[in-house]
Each structure stands twice: as C-alpha cells, then as structure tokens.
C-alpha cells in the first residue's frame, strides 16, 4: 500500500515542512504520493515531483481551492485517501486544521504530532506539553497522522522523478469562504526552519523594546520568536509564539531573553541543540534546561552581545 502526504504550500512554493514529512513517510515503507491541492499550483506540483522518494503527485488545481479551506481539502483527502495505508500532514496550523476533518470522514482516530515511528502502526507522540511521551499502536485500517517536522530529516528537494497526475475536484463547498488575511511580513528566516532563533518574553517590556531583540536577530541571520506573554501583551504578532500551543522549533541555537521558562514554553523549544538563557532572575526555571545561562539585565546584555558578536 502507498502513503499519501498532504503538501504544505502557498500555491507558489512547496514549504520545507513537506520535505520532513516525506522523510517520515520513507520510514514507513511503501510508495510515496503527494497531494498538492490549490489554485495555479503547477509549480508546487512540479517541485513535489522532484523530491527524493516521491513516486507520484496528485495535483488538484482548481480556483476554488486557492485558500485550501478545510471544507474543501478534507473531502478531497477522504476521497483520495481511501486507497492508502497512511495519510500524513505536517503538524502545522494547516495540517492541524484539515487532517482531523478528513480523519473523521474516514472514521479514523488520528494520531497527532508524531515524533518517532517504530513500525507501520506504532508511533511516539508527546502528551502533557511534552512532559510524557506516549507510544501508541493504531488499530485503524488507515493511519492518519500529523508529523512534527522538527523530528524527521528532510529529504532532498531534487533527484526525484515522480509523475504528476491531475485529479478532478468536486464542486466548491458552500459552507465557508475566505474573507481576508493579515500575514506577517518578514525578511527573516521562517521560525520553524531557522538555524538560530532569538526569542523574547515579558521581560522585554514593550513592542518598542523588542527592537533590540530584532537587531540581534538580524545580525545573526536568526528568526525571532516569543513567549505567550509577549504575544498577549501585543509586543509581537501571534505567529511568533513558541510553545505547547504555538510553534515547535528545534534550531541549532535558541536564545531565550526575558523568558521565565514555563512548561508551556519549554514544550516548544527544548529540543533545540544549544539553549542560551538570559534572565535577571538567577532562579528562573529556564536556567534548568539552558546549556549556557547569563544572569543579568537584558537591556545591558543584549546591546553588548549585539555589538561584540
């Protein structure tokens, strides 16, 4: 049986998370197919076909699919997915939105946030904000799962020679429609794919003060993240949030600045290779998981670090 991977894309480019999910699919064994659903998404389908290990791309290219609404994509996954042993999507907000809807249509109990694959039906997933790891074995005929991209190596985006098959899509749904978006614009690397992430918390104190975090990030070519407290207080947009209920990151270097280290925050960054904590409170829990801690006032430390690094 073959494995179906739902591609993450914006109709123009294939998002790197997809390459990690294909990497996870390779561990399952079986032919790998990728579903690219969108509008004017031919370039994405071609890119997916070139990925290492991809045998076939199912391209559903149709203008009503432009915004990839769950009410359109889930029925498509339901229809196409019946012939597969596994259906995988990245554990991004898109994957999390669409996949459970498809799983319910298939009468399957989805497995969320898979971080390790034992065999074709046994998987590890974090529970309780990553404070426990459950190994679960699925008895469903089709395994439907979201996969944490940071836990699987990406396949190469070249060297593959998959065929692209156009598939017909049903009529657009009448339940939901797109009404607008406000996307954060940034020249910085994407948070979940960056090699270095610099995050600020409540200690940074204001939106204006966040500029010192951004300046340091730009000097290092890093992405900027934040704690929930910093997002709630309006210092930075929601998509900066790292944690149990935000984004999961695992860069080579994570620098937490003015962040106390609540379990919900640690859940999103504790798999980083090297963690640095900068906090004026020497007892802050963040120091318990930091490789290098520096106790002191961030308003003195960060400008100094930025000028010397």
């Amino acid at each position: 049986m073959a494995i179906l991977v739902l591609a993450e894309h914006d109709n123009k480019t294939l998002k790197p998370a997809t390459l990690n999910v294909i990497g996870a699919a390779k561990k399952l064994g079986g032919e790998i197919h990728v579903l690219v659903a969108g509008a004017a998404c031919g370039a994405v389908a071609d890119a997916a076909a070139k990925c290492e290990g991809v045998a076939k791309v199912l391209k559903a290219d149709n203008s009503p699919l432009e915004h990839q609404l769950a009410e359109d994509i889930a029925p498509l996954l339901h229809e196409q997915g019946k012939n597969y042993s596994h259906i995988l999507a990245p554990a991004t907000t898109h994957g999390k939105n669409v996949l459970p809807r498809a799983a319910a249509l298939l009468d399957v109990q989805q497995i969320s946030d898979v971080i390790a694959i034992h065999d074709a039906e046994t998987f590890e997933r974090p529970v309780y904000a990553g404070n426990a790891i459950a190994t679960v074995k699925s008895s469903d005929k089709i395994k439907v799962m979201t996969v944490r991209p940071t836990n699987f190596d990406a396949v190469k985006n070249s060297g593959g020679s998959g065929v692209v098959n156009e598939i017909n899509t049903a009529t657009p749904n009448t339940l939901s429609s797109f009404a607008g978006q406000e996307l954060s614009k940034s020249e910085r690397p994407e948070l979940t794919a960056a090699k270095i992430v610099i995050s600020g918390g409540r200690g940074v104190g204001s939106k204006e003060n966040f500029a010192i975090i951004e300046k340091l990030a730009d000097k290092l070519g890093a992405a900027v993240g934040a704690s929930r407290a910093a997002v709630d207080a309006g210092y930075v947009p929601n998509d900066y949030q790292v944690g149990q209920t935000g984004k999961i990151v695992a860069p080579d270097l994570y620098i937490a600045i003015g962040i106390s280290g609540a379990i919900q925050h640690l859940a999103g960054m504790k798999d980083s290779k090297i963690i640095v904590a900068i906090n004026k409170d020497g007892e802050a829990p963040i120091f318990g998981i930091a490789d290098y801690g520096l106790v002191g006032d961030l308003f003195q430390i960060i400008p100094e670090l930025e000028s010397k690094i």
């Binding site: 790891i133 797109f178 009404a179 270097l253 504790k270 100094e304």
Partner: protein, 254 residues
C-alpha cells in the same frame, strides 16, 4: 441562538505531570484538576454572546468522570445556563475517551439539543490532540473556524479570525458552525462567589454514553508512556565575552 460548549476536566496548567514508574500512564492522584484553559475561553465567549444579546442559552457538556461535574459547575459560575455530564469510566490520565468517539457523542448531543453554534477549545492540555472540533464539524457537515482569535456574529453567518502559522486569516462561515478557541479570543473572568453559589442550583443532567449510541472503544493502544529525554544540565557564564567564546569555540554554533 443557542450555543453548546464542551468542557473537559484536565490537570491544572500549573502542574507538572509525573510519569508512572511502570510506564503505563501518568499519575493524577492528588493532582489539582481544572477546566481545560481553552474550554474556559470557549465558555467565556459564549457567555459574552449571551450577555451581548446575541445568544439565548448556553449549554455546557462534559464527557468524563463523575467528578467532571466540578468543571461543569465552574462553567455555570462563569454564566452557562445548564450542564450535561456524559459519565464515562474511561481512564483519564492519557486524555480519556479518544477525540473521534468524543466527536461522535457530541454529534449525538447536537442532534438532540439543536444548537446554532458549538464553541470549544482548540486542544486539551492533557493529550494535546487538537482534533475534536474539526472532527465534530466533519461529522455534522458543518463549517469549522479553528484557532479563533476573533468572532463576529451576523445574521445567518459569522466571521472568524484564525491564528495561523503565517499570521491571521478571516473566514466567513454559514451557521450552524463549530468554532475552536485560541488563547487570544478573550480573557476569561474570575467567577464571583455569588455566581459560584448560583451555579450550584443550575440544572445538571447526567447521562450514560450508551444513551448516545456511540462505540467508545479506543482505536489506539497505549504501548508505553515514558519521560522525555532529559537535557543535561548546563553552566552559567559570567560575562557576554565568555558567552560568545563558549558559543563559538565549545558549542560551535556561531
């Protein structure tokens, strides 16, 4: 407009769980339990809609152990009108009844209660699945507005702003619909003592899962529960220069 809000009894968000030494689950003995924080946001949103004259009744439902009555009472203290407890004896330490079965039971309750809107948490902080709302919407054939940070009700439709990886997205949904809450939708109130007292007298109905005709047998077998790999302790450096030196020459990440 009638609103149904599912609420779940979970470990309090301030408590760090302990994995049982025999690897069968986590230890919830004598642990503080609360309303799942996202569900509290859902209750608050529904109650605000009622207070704003847009909703007429807020019904809360919990699927879980008998003690989940406490969480239903908390929701009623915030302002929900009545509660339904679907009492199950499924072990709760790994999240209780699985999301698909919960969604099926909620579907049966929706067919009985006929709400115009279901508002629920995007995930519960025990098993962190983030599935039930999407599954319920699928089973009902309703639209879904997940990870909502803003909700605007108009006649016959609603606009929901969602927190997505790239920023924010706004959708128009026909009603009835399922909404799942994100952290920024609102800040739940603290229930005042008179409201807590009043909540004790609000109607509560207890039913058995069998009354809803749903098979709740788990599809996932728990093979093992383990502690995550521990990070080995680090060191404190004294100066910025020392930090830079370590990052360059020891960790080699710069």
């Amino acid at each position: 407009m009638k609103i149904l809000v599912p609420v779940k009894r979970v470990i309090d968000f301030n408590v760090k769980v302990r994995v049982k030494s025999d690897g069968t689950g986590v230890d919830l003995a004598n642990v503080k339990m609360s309303v799942n924080p996202f569900d509290e946001i859902a209750v608050e949103e529904a109650v605000r809609l009622k207070e704003g004259g847009k909703a007429t009744e807020v019904v809360v439902v919990s699927i879980g152990p008998a003690k989940a009555e406490e969480q239903l009472r908390t929701a009623m203290a915030i302002g929900a009108d009545r509660g339904i407890l679907v009492k199950t004896d499924a072990p709760t330490d790994l999240g209780g009844v699985e999301p698909l079965a919960v969604a099926k039971m909620l579907k049966a309750l929706v067919e009985k209660e006929k709400p115009d809107l279901v508002i629920m948490g995007k995930q519960s902080i025990d098993d962190d699945s983030n599935q039930t709302g999407q599954m319920l919407a699928a089973l009902l054939g309703w639209p879904q507005g997940t990870f909502a940070s803003k909700l605007n009700i108009e006649s016959g439709s609603l606009k929901v702003t969602r927190e997505i990886d790239g920023g924010l997205e706004t959708l128009s949904l026909k009603t009835p619909a399922v909404i799942t809450t994100d952290l920024r939708l609102n800040e739940p109130r603290y229930a005042k003592l008179p409201d807590i007292m009043k909540a004790k007298k609000k109607p509560m109905e207890t039913i058995e899962p069998s009354a809803l005709g749903v098979d709740i047998a788990p599809r996932l077998k728990i093979v093992k529960v383990a502690e995550p790999a521990k990070r080995k302790g680090g060191i404190k450096v004294k100066t910025v220069d020392e930090l830079i030196d370590k990052l360059k020459n020891e960790a080699k990440v710069l």
